[in-house]
């Protein structure tokens, strides 16, 4: 297994996908990650301290900083980034284009496993995790919770086959933005095969409604490199439209356009201060999870710094 070797002990996706249970897959990834880091599950991002403020009448005395009071005889309230634990909603694309895969498993499998891994990880931290699956409309909606059995429910939701129709990222994202969910972290796992304009509009909409956003773009290596040889009728998995393509002549153009699209998404993400992670399906999941954690930590510091400057 070349992939395993290269990733220094991380489980390669092809092996991982052979595990039938989504819960077990997630456990394997998360446990593998924990082997390297030692951090208390009790101190999640959600418990990050943000600022002090003057006590006013009516504030809960529980959050009064007694030490400050003892030291300076002033009443201060200790404010955290989120007063409860982190509220994370996983947005998983179940459209038909996600059903493509040239590696023996599909992009949807990969996306589901990625989402399951994140869920497992966050749940273990004590954060509330929710799930939204969508194709051209919102398909399943599991509200963010952190209670016994909820993880299983999420795993079960992720195990559902992607039987959706066309990807219309616009409509479901719009719907999610309008759902008045409590502000929190949104993790979008999708191939993002949608026009740039729509994407830009919807993502900024989501961002504007106060959510923190992380994007995982899932794609197959064949989609990136167009490694076909023989001319064939290429059939769109969503519209069932057929197009005669001779890869020898079409490859260069395809790759350029694919690259342009990814770059455009990345640009939008940076403009919106959204974390963007390309996730080719041949990449070990642990890497993706690791990137996610790094980003969250960095993001936490940014907020802290912002709070300190004030």
């Amino acid at each position: 297994m070349r992939a395993t070797e290269r990733n220094g002990g991380l489980v390669d996706p092809a092996s991982l996908m052979r595990i039938a249970s989504m819960e077990l897959r997630a456990k394997v990834v998360v446990d593998g990650l924990y082997r390297g880091i030692h951090r208390s599950s009790r101190h999640g991002f959600s418990t990050e301290f943000t600022e002090y403020r003057q006590y006013v009448d009516g504030d809960d005395l529980r959050y009064l900083d007694w030490r400050v009071l003892a030291r300076s005889d002033r009443h201060y309230i200790k404010k955290f980034e989120d007063e409860t634990s982190l509220r994370c909603n996983l947005l998983v694309d179940h459209s038909r284009s996600m059903g493509y895969g040239s590696l023996g498993y599909t992009k949807a499998d990969y996306a589901a496993t990625l989402a399951a891994t994140l869920a497992q990880f966050l749940f273990a931290q004590g954060d509330a995790v929710g799930l939204v699956t969508f194709d051209d409309h919102v398909d399943q909606l599991i509200p963010a919770r952190n209670r016994y059995g909820h993880l299983r429910r999420i795993m079960h939701g992720l195990e559902q086959q992607s039987g959706g129709a066309a990807t219309d990222l616009g409509a479901p994202l719009q719907h999610i933005a309008e759902m008045q969910m409590r502000r929190g972290l949104l993790v979008l796992v999708s191939d993002l095969f949608a026009p740039i304009d729509t994407l830009s509009k919807r993502l900024s909409h989501l961002r504007a409604s106060g959510h923190d956003l992380v994007i995982f773009q899932v794609f197959d290596p064949a989609e990136r490199d167009f490694t076909f040889e023989a001319p064939a009728l290429f059939e769109d998995s969503e519209s069932k439209q057929k197009l005669y393509v001779d890869p020898a002549t079409a490859r260069e153009d395809y790759c350029r356009r694919f690259r342009d699209h990814s770059e455009a998404v990345r640009t939008i993400a940076s403009q919106l201060t959204v974390d963007f992670h390309p996730a080719p399906t041949d990449r070990p999941l642990a890497e993706a999870l690791f990137e996610f954690m790094n980003d969250r930590q960095r993001r936490g510091r940014v907020i802290q710094r912002r709070g300190a400057q004030r």
């Binding site: 023996g104 064949a222 290429f234 153009d253």
Partner: protein, 702 residues
């Protein structure tokens, strides 16, 4: 070789499809599922260079199979020579109208043009018949068939150009019935089997005598009538005809101005006409006749003693019926001799009533001369009819006998039984006469209406003689040669006809004077006297008007006809003697009873030039192919084609060559399948499989 459905040959064009497919670079037949075509653009399939046709044997096999299939569906057949002649022969009988109305301007040229069209096909059998009131064959089927095909049309044209429309009326019904018979007579067994038959009627369809002749005939099945109507651009036509006068009536002062009937055709546009004498004498009469109606007017007044020979009508477009020839019908003078003891002004005598009965009529002008029974001046030979009322003197009796023997006619009235004595001598037979004993009155009980004298009373309305009371009559034993015309109710003969020599004697056993009977007072008297006058004088009303083409209007016993004469008095005819009258004018007709001047005119029915309604023809069962010439040809062609198709289909069904060709096509397809199987087995790996495995490998590697 020919084919049943040549259109299927077009299917052979389908061979282009395999050729193109072989020229095309083989396209991937497999479908490559892909997530999204968002970043893909279609690339056109590349053609192989023309020189590199893939799988040439396969291509040839496929083309061959397609061509064989096309041929099989086209149903080919190998035909004999007999098929070539199918439907080409047909019989066409051309009826060419030569009636007077066809002499209108331009019509004859149109008719000849139609004829040219009808005889265009030299393969058909053609006959041409001209008609007016009668049929005149111009060209029969044998004449046509006897010529080489190239010369046939020319012959027909020459024959048709040799005639022109005459002055006779038309009888389309008779012509059609006759033509149907003619064309049916031509049906020999061989000809019956094939070809269509039709009558082409080239006519202005002027109604003429109408279609009465067709009513009694049955229109043959399968015989079509094509009508080629010729028509004139000038619709106004009016005609002249003579109003026949009652010849038995007394002449009138206006008789010099004959009454003519002006009839205007329904399609006419004008209604003002002028009637005048042809020689210009007198003031022309203006007459207004609305279209579709007729009006009777008198010809203009002429100076006394100058009779005209023709009246002309002016003001319409067509001249063929505008002249009406007339003969001067002066009454014939008939001298009548009465021999008797009574005076002409004695109302108790016979002469008194005879004089009053013999009034002049338009035809006869009797002149009565009365003499005594012993008058030596009386010469019976100078008189047409002699009436004897009593016993003449011996000398006179002798003259009378000579007169009768030489062919004269006398009427003897037995006023007394003794009068029969001279009659015995006259007839040469013993006659016993007595005064009959009459109880009250006698009546005429039985009459022989077959006798010429009594034929006018034949009709039941006029045949009742019982109202005539006879007070006195004589009984007479009739001589064996005598013919009794009437009997009294007691069985005694009343009137007898006794032939004597070349002549004859009419014997009345009772007089018409009041002392003997009421005969003179009855309505029977004048007709009886006039009939006897005509018989005796041998003058019968003769037709003076002859309708051209109608033999029935010619005087009976016509021997020869001389004319047309320049005028009524012309001694030398401008035309030679003939048997028929073909054109308008005055003619001198020689009959057994002498020469007669007649005027020949166009049939008055010919003036109504409005065409016949085709519906009436159809109502009589005539199968009208069409009214339009082009459509007729097309219909005939269609019939011929369908017949040919049937024959061809029959022959094809016998040969069934399509089955063999279809079998061959299947064999070729079988070979094609085998060859294609070999070819595909040689390619152990299809290009699409290679691509699929490549993709998996590349994906894993990246």
């Amino acid at each position: 070789m020919s084919v049943l459905f040549p259109l299927f040959f077009a299917a052979a064009a389908a061979v282009i499809a395999p050729i193109l497919l072989h020229l095309l670079r083989q396209r991937a037949r497999n479908i490559q599922p892909f997530s999204s075509l968002m970043f893909l653009r279609a690339t056109p399939p590349r053609m192989q260079p023309k020189t590199r046709v893939e799988n040439l044997p396969l291509l040839l096999l496929r083309c061959l199979a397609l061509i064989l299939l096309a041929i099989a569906f086209a149903r080919p057949l190998w035909q004999g020579t007999d098929l070539m002649t199918v439907g080409q022969k047909g019989r066409t009988l051309i009826l060419l109208d030569t009636s007077a109305s066809m002499s209108r301007t331009g019509l004859w040229d149109q008719a000849l043009a139609h004829l040219d069209q009808a005889i265009a096909d030299p393969e058909q059998r053609v006959a041409i018949v001209a008609f007016d009131r009668t049929l005149r064959p111009l060209l029969n089927f044998e004449d046509w068939a006897g010529q080489p095909p190239a010369a046939r049309a020319e012959l027909a044209r020459t024959r048709a150009q040799s005639i022109t429309p005459g002055s006779a009326g038309s009888d389309i019904g008779l012509a059609l019935a006759g033509a149907a018979d003619l064309i049916s007579d031509d049906e020999t067994a061989a000809a019956e089997a094939q070809g269509i038959k039709r009558i082409v009627l080239i006519s202005d369809l002027q109604a003429g005598r109408g279609l009465d002749a067709l009513r009694s005939a049955t229109w043959p099945k399968g015989l079509g009538l094509s009508i080629r109507q010729v028509s004139s651009a000038q619709p106004t036509n009016a005609g002249l005809s003579l109003v026949t006068v009652e010849t038995g009536l007394m002449p009138e002062a206006d008789d010099q101005r004959p009454r003519v009937r002006v009839s205007n055709d329904a399609a006419s546009k004008s209604q003002a006409f002028t009637v005048a004498w042809s020689d210009g004498v007198g003031t022309p009469e203006n007459v207004s006749v609305p279209p579709g109606s007729t009006r009777v007017v008198r010809a203009p007044l002429r100076p006394a003693g100058k009779a005209g020979s023709a009246v002309v009508l002016r003001g319409d477009d067509h001249a063929f019926d505008n002249t009406l020839y007339l003969t001067d019908a002066a009454p014939a003078e008939v001298p009548v001799l009465y021999l008797g003891s009574d005076a002409v002004d004695d109302p108790t005598g016979l002469a008194y009533f005879l004089k009053r009965a013999l009034q002049p009529t338009r035809v006869l002008a009797p002149r009565l001369t009365a003499h005594g029974l012993a008058d030596a001046a009386a010469d019976p030979a100078r008189f047409s009819w002699v009436v004897v009322g009593g016993a003449p003197s011996a000398e006179l009796a002798q003259r009378l006998t000579a007169h009768v023997s030489s062919g004269g006619a006398i009427t003897v009235v037995l006023r007394q039984a003794s009068d029969a004595a001279w009659l015995e001598k006259l007839s040469g037979h013993a006659l016993r006469a007595e005064e009959a004993r009459v109880n009250g009155f006698a009546m005429i009980g039985r009459v022989d209406f077959a006798h010429p004298l009594l034929r006018p009373f034949e009709v039941a309305r006029f045949g009742d003689f019982t109202k005539i009371h006879v007070w006195h009559h004589r009984t007479l034993t009739p001589p064996p040669t005598a013919q009794v015309l009437a009997w009294y109710d007691d069985g005694q003969p009343a009137w007898l006809d006794v032939p004597v020599g070349k002549g004859r004697v009419l014997v009345l056993t009772s007089g018409w004077h009041p002392a003997d009977s009421q005969l003179a007072l009855s309505t029977k008297f004048v007709p009886l006297i006039y009939t006897e006058l005509q018989r005796s004088s041998r003058i019968t009303p003769r037709p003076t008007q002859v309708i051209i083409g109608d033999a029935a209007t010619l005087p009976t016993g016509t021997q020869s006809i001389v004319g047309p004469l320049a005028s009524a008095d012309a001694a030398n005819p401008t035309s030679t003697t003939s048997q028929v009258i073909a054109q308008q004018g005055l003619y001198r007709v020689q009959t057994a009873e002498g020469a007669l001047l007649v005027a020949a005119n166009v049939d008055p029915l010919e003036s109504h030039t409005a065409p016949l309604a085709l519906e009436t023809l159809e109502a009589l069962g005539v199968a009208i192919a069409d009214a339009d010439a082009a459509a007729a040809v097309a219909a005939a062609e269609a019939a011929r084609t369908s017949e040919r198709k049937l024959k061809v289909a029959e022959l094809e069904a016998r040969q069934k060559s399509w089955m063999w060709i279809l079998a061959a096509a299947f064999i070729v397809l079988l070979i094609e399948t085998i060859v294609a199987g070999f070819a595909s087995r040689r390619k152990t790996e299809t290009p699409s499989d290679v691509v699929a495995t490549d993709v998996v490998a590349t994906g894993a590697a990246s």
